[in-house]
Amino acid sequence: MTVLIVIDQAPYGRWSGREGLDMAFSLAAFDQSCALLFSGAGVNWLRTGQQPDGLGQKSVARNLGAAAIFGVEALYADAQACHRYSLEGDAIINGVTLIAPDQAFMTGFEKVTFAG
């Protein structure tokens, strides 16, 4: 019965990624089962060392690292996209499960939702 929120936009350039995170954390706050998938350029939300204060934005990497505490059941990332963006080793935050976002993976979720 899990809702999968998919984020495929890179951070800070557009707001829809942030709005997807808001959806996931809202579901979790209301005790609804949910997980996050970062695909395409969206995997860049998972990079360590983000310092968006210079753009007047808050880093969510810490929130994502504590997603399990907030009730988000899993953080998934598209393995191929991580490779494309050199998100390997220390560059990616802890607690992320690398997957291929194919039919077999997607079929396990009751709902699959983009924020925009």
Partner: protein, 108 residues
């Protein structure tokens, strides 16, 4: 508005509603997740990629007639144009039916 009568599937696992042309990364993501028990509905600009999607999809593909007409893709009964391939054109009424038949709906 005239529209060909479409045979809708009896059951749909996932209805994929796609509104982006094939160049868009999300269209490729959509194609990678299709199963034979699914159905694809092309709306808005995605009708322009009907033949590309129909070739790649392992499942039925429909398109909204109003969007196809707007963009100059003319339905011929039985066969599509070169641009539409064999994708059947349906109305909003059938879009509602597809959504009612589907266990899950993903808007890409």
């Amino acid at each position: 508005m005239s529209q060909s009568v479409a045979d809708l599937p009896a059951h749909i696992h996932t209805l994929h509603i796609l509104n982006k042309t094939a160049e868009h990364p999300r269209a490729a993501q959509c194609l990678a997740t299709l199963a034979t028990a699914d159905t694809v509905l092309l709306i808005e600009n995605a009708v322009l990629s009907a033949s590309e999607v129909a070739t790649a999809a392992p499942c039925p593909v429909f398109m909204l007639a109003a969007d196809a007409r707007a963009r100059g893709l003319i339905a011929k009964p039985g066969v599509g144009t070169e641009a539409t391939g064999t994708t059947q054109q349906i109305g909003y009424e059938q879009m509602v039916q597809l959504s009612a038949l589907a266990t899950r709906i993903i808007s890409w």
